[in-house]
């Protein structure tokens, strides 16, 4: 299969990848942070600004109709891409963070009672912890975390045992942004359903790397981010079961989310527009539509197969680096490699790798609890995408070697 997948072919579509950093060819291994954009996405954004800038849903003139068709067309594309069931179940947000906060404020906040619990896991991103802490603090509820194994896998039996009647919502990453663990979200959804606990899945890191089928997963809420899916910044979406969207009160008040406004009372629009007050990031979502088309053109199945080969190759290569410690060895894992080299601080690693052209992230990766679990303040992280290559992995390992010799 992978013989058929030629990353060099796709690399040409990404202008940044032609770039040099400190005189070396850029090796962009920070994809879990944000992904690079293919030319078609850049063109879609530019095309809107150049040819038909207008607000959506408010204007009957030609520019407005063209903009509305492109913007709502992106919703259709994303709905198909995620097998969302219906386009009306996709609320556009500025990213995963807003999507999760929407659920926190509009779903959880009005429901939570003192003593209630929200169950997350030890490997969550802050975006899937702090919103729950904020609404818990206002309601007297608490947030608890299911533990993980030293390999970085969720302890499913412990998760199940923690699904007590006090739990009013569970929230789990589909894929960990730090250690790449792919959680069995369909199985988790079944567990939650059988206990009557609604489940939110944080899909930020899943959508760019594997086929996400919302009908198959069976969760209640799914949050995703456009800029990690090779789309523009400031885009994302919340998918939710229809009954939740109907029942939830609106979040932001403003234009486009109402039917009628008066000082005696206001009537709200239907979902998804009920949750989309104000002028959206029109250019961004039009670009996200183009990103979805682009990814579909390659095929997520092929992307996933290639990336898992690349992950195996990179894992082997890293394990050959003396003194290197790899965090997270889940059986089912996306191409994210968190590591430290003995005697070298993560930040020095990142700075010195950058001098060799290799962009990795260092720090806590917005996952303090996971850092605490591993007992380290920070790690370096290489996160790969389908446009990365074995040659880049080799260059990365050579650079690591140099850094190690310099500092350790």
């Amino acid at each position: 299969m992978s013989g058929a997948f030629d990353p060099e072919l796709w690399r040409r579509d990404f202008p940044v990848l032609k770039r040099q950093v400190h005189g070396k060819p850029l090796v962009y291994f920070d994809n879990a942070n944000t992904a690079q954009k293919p030319q078609v996405v850049i063109d879609a954004v530019e095309g809107y600004y150049r040819d038909y800038t207008a607000n959506v849903a408010r204007a009957v003139h030609s520019l407005g109709e063209q903009a509305t068709a492109a913007y709502e067309g992106a919703r259709d594309k994303l709905a198909r891409f995620l097998n969302a069931g219906s386009r009306d179940q996709l609320v556009f947000t500025s990213g995963t963070t807003q999507a999760i906060n929407l659920v926190a404020y509009s779903y959880a906040l009005p429901r939570l009672q003192p003593g209630d619990e929200i169950l997350v896991t030890q490997m969550e991103h802050h975006a899937n912890i702090v919103p729950w802490q904020l609404v818990a603090a206002r309601t007297g509820a608490t947030v608890k975390a299911a533990p993980i194994t030293p390999e970085g896998e969720l302890m499913l039996d412990r998760f199940e045992a923690m699904l007590t009647p006090a739990v009013k919502l569970a929230a789990v990453a589909h894929v960990s942004n730090v250690i790449g663990t792919v959680n069995p979200v369909a199985q988790i959804a079944r567990l939650c359903r059988s206990r009557g606990v609604p489940l939110l899945v944080d899909g930020s890191q899943a959508c760019p790397h594997q086929r996400v089928d919302l009908q198959a997963i069976g969760c209640d809420f799914y949050a995703m981010t456009g800029h990690k899916l090779f789309g523009p910044t400031g885009t994302g979406a919340l998918w939710a079961r229809r009954e939740h969207l109907q029942a939830m009160p609106p979040f932001f008040g403003g234009g486009e989310m109402i039917r009628t406004v008066s000082f005696d009372g206001t009537v709200f629009a239907d979902p998804p527009h009920k949750f989309e007050a104000g002028t959206p990031n029109i250019a961004g979502f039009i670009g996200l539509g183009a990103a979805v088309d682009y990814i579909e053109g390659i095929g997520l199945e092929r992307i996933q197969a290639y990336e898992s080969e690349l992950l195996a190759y990179a894992t082997d290569a890293l394990l050959g680096v003396p003194g290197l410690r790899l965090f997270g060895r889940a059986a089912h894992k996306a191409a994210v490699l968190s590591f430290l080299v003995e005697g070298v601080h993560a930040h020095d690693l990142a700075t010195l790798l950058d001098h060799e052209g290799v962009a990795v992230r260092s720090g806590h990766h917005c996952a303090h609890p996971l850092m605490q679990f591993f007992g380290v303040p920070a790690t370096a992280r290489a996160s790969l995408a389908f446009y990365n290559t074995r040659e880049e992995v080799d260059a990365f390992v050579r650079a690591l070697d140099k850094v190690r010799k310099l500092l350790a």
Binding site: V60, R259, P272, H273
Partner: protein, 148 residues
């Protein structure tokens, strides 16, 4: 100004001189349709006789497309059995989606240009929605469905 095809003669004509316009004393069915997004509001009054639409009257503050549709709709449905309306409405919706006009649509076929004006479709749908509401015994309806 040469009228754009959406405002073809028959539409303009029904806008200027709407048929079955006004109030209907002794109506058996009635409904108000509003679309606050557009600012259209329509009052429809009917008299049914053994299931047939024997009389039809409308009035309201509407745009030309809405008025013409209400007028053309009245012409088309007068005398029809209320139970026979569903396929007609489906044919009209197909027209709005850009399909060729079904022969049964009569004068309503003049509104086929709306396929190219998604933002204006609700203007034509309001008359239909109000008619359905009146027949269903609902006092009020709206075409404020969100943009799609």
């Amino acid at each position: 100004m040469s009228a754009p095809a959406l405002y073809r003669d028959i539409v303009l004509e029904h806008h200027r001189a709407p048929r079955n316009h006004g109030a209907l004393a002794g109506h058996t069915h009635a409904a108000d349709g509003v679309n606050a997004l557009c600012g259209d509001s329509l009052r429809l009054e009917l008299r049914l006789d053994a299931g047939r639409i024997a009389e039809y009257r409308f009035r309201g503050e509407c745009c030309a497309i809405c008025t013409a549709t209400a007028s053309l709709l009245g012409e088309r449905v007068l005398g029809l059995d209320a139970a026979a309306l569903a396929p007609l409405q489906q044919a009209f919706e197909a027209l709005l989606r850009g399909e060729a006009a079904a022969p049964g649509l009569g004068g309503l076929a003049a509104l086929g240009e709306l396929a190219r004006y998604p933002a204006r479709r609700k203007c034509a749908q309001l008359a239909w929605a109000t008619l359905s509401a009146a027949l269903a015994g609902q006092a009020r309806t709206t075409t404020e469905k969100d943009p799609a």
